[in-house]
Amino acid sequence: MEIISLTQDKSKMNASFIIKKIDPTIANTLRRMIIEEVPTMAIEDVEIMKNNSVLYDEIIAHRLGLLPLTTDLKSYVVKSECKCEGKGCARCTLQMTLKSKNGMVYASDFKSKDPKVVPAYPKTPIVKLLKGQEIELVATAELGKGKDHIKWAPCMVWYKYKPIINITQANIKDPEAVVKVCPKGVLEVRSGKLEINQKKLMLCNLCAACADEAPNSIKLNEKDDEFVFYIESFGQLKAKEIIVTALDMLKKELSVFEEALNTMK
């Protein structure tokens, strides 16, 4: 197995990389571990004291549930695996309060007891209040997993086979026309010849527009043991943290499986 990092942006929230010499089973295992098993914080219970805004209590609670909260994995444990046996304690839940009387209510108006767990996007509007309208609520956030509800999923993650473009130069009459037809700008003309722009090759989605333009000269293929992975964090965790946690979770599950096998005779 070989891993090549393609990009990571400054915020470290997005990442892409190629994994070589694996098969779809392993690629999909990694993807599903990331979506379903990496725990994040999200609001689960909302107790509403006052709400005479236009939005109903349920709608507000739903909006709050979808807010990504920055997550500190070291100081919390998943509620169902906590010593409190699912009752909810300081190790698995966190109370946040929201109180507002005027204008637009933003996610940044939340008061959290833990400065490490706050809404990841402070500018998210929650509800707009007119004069005389008021909102007051206590929300309980808990650490949960994407397999229970998608609001706990940490990121968008997807993969594809690595694209291969084979160009036979001889039959291409008009290279510029082929360049123009590619929606992703993967091809370019260098000294009169049609070439692949290696920096953009990974953008190729095998749409085959170029192969339609030059039927006998361009062949598209995918490499079936090299995967291009993309991770786009929703804001709770950084991309690297997500992958590392997913692999830890996979290790944990495998050790549970191993223990089960050992008890078998």
């Binding site: 005479n52 805004s53 236009v54 939005l55 109903y56 909006r63 979808l66 807010l67 990504p68 996610a107 990841a120 996007y121 402070p122 500018k123 998210t124 509007p125 929650i126 509800v127 707009k128 209040l129 007119l130 309208q133 998608i150 999923a153 968008m156 786009e232 929703f234 804001g235």
Partner: protein
């Protein structure tokens, strides 16, 4: 009514960009350019902005039952 917190299709949080989008669109900037500069690349998320009508100011005047 209000811009949804996340994209319906892919789940990416988008609501935090709404006020900037609205202000820039009112100043006459092209919607394509705004969305590109906000980093909203997928068509599902882009549609959330293009199709949204902010009705909260109108609806807020009426009584809730």
């Amino acid at each position: 009514m209000m811009i949804p917190v996340r994209c319906f299709s892919c789940g990416k949080p988008i609501a935090q960009h709404w006020e900037e989008y609205k202000e820039r669109a009112e100043n006459g900037e092209s919607r394509k350019e705004i969305l590109d500069s906000l980093g909203i690349t997928r068509f599902c998320c882009r549609a959330m902005f293009l199709g949204h009508v902010d009705l909260i100011d109108t609806a807020a005047k009426f009584k809730k039952f």
